[in-house]
């Protein structure tokens, strides 16, 4: 059960290798990677965060998922700083006995990371820099849980 907040990149395979899955208890591993997306005018993303709050917020999201579903392990890595187009932003991996639980927990964690983790994205492009607005759909999505 690990949460990492870091500037450097991560390797999905290495992170999944560190998931606890032993003893035949794990039947499903789901992983999600968020990537800097944009058209050619986007050069990079600046990811600002609130260091004193970030880790605690991610831990809380992870712990809520652990209470809600029967999971074997959860690993969250979230980057901050300067990220170029196509770079990995964050990942979440969930190991569970059953597929449905793994899917729901990963979906849940992503929903809360979107709207409850203290990160803010600024896009740097050909036409200057602009703060990414929160998508109202993301906030609404929390009502599903």
């Amino acid at each position: 059960m690990t949460v990492l907040v870091q500037e450097k990149n991560f390797n999905l395979a290495d992170e999944i290798n560190q998931l606890k899955t032993a003893d035949g208890a794990t039947g499903a591993i789901i992983s999600f990677i968020g990537i800097v997306r944009g058209d050619k005018s986007l050069k990079a993303l600046e990811l600002e965060h609130y260091p004193k709050m970030t880790f605690t917020a991610l831990e809380e999201i992870k712990n809520k998922a652990l209470k809600k579903w029967n999971l074997i392990d959860v690993r969250i890595v979230h980057r901050f700083g300067h990220l170029s187009l196509g770079e990995q932003i964050m990942m979440v991996a969930v190991a569970a006995p059953h597929r449905r639980e793994a899917f729901e927990a990963a979906d849940y964690i992503m929903d809360f990371l979107k709207s409850r983790a203290p990160f803010w994205k600024k896009e740097h492009g050909d036409n200057g820099s602009v703060w990414v607005n929160a998508n109202p759909e993301d906030e609404k999505s929390l009502a599903r849980w």
């Binding site: 609130y50 004193k52 992503m110 983790a117 203290p118 929160a134």
Partner: protein, 83 residues
């Protein structure tokens, strides 16, 4: 009462600083915002649309009507865009 205030993202940019310690008699976040807005125009502008401002009290997401009693650190920021 002395209180530490942090600003993130475009709130930080509009106000022109990432943190400050201020002396205030505000009892709630609402009152604190009112105090700040009356300070200078850039504060007034930063807080002009509260529907796009969020607040955390001692690193916990809170509401504008929350009390500042025993609070050490207030953070203002736009809606979060993690993930």
């Amino acid at each position: 009462m002395k209180i530490k205030i942090l600003y993130f993202a475009w709130l930080r940019e509009r106000i022109g600083k990432s943190s400050e310690v201020i002396e205030t008699e505000a009892k709630t976040v609402e009152q604190l915002i009112k105090d700040l807005r009356s300070k200078e125009e850039r504060y007034d502008f930063a807080f002009s649309d509260l529907s796009s401002v969020r607040v955390a009290l001692d690193q916990t997401l809170s509401t504008f009507d929350s009390s500042l009693k025993n609070v050490n650190e207030v953070a203002f920021f736009p809606p979060m865009t993690g993930g």
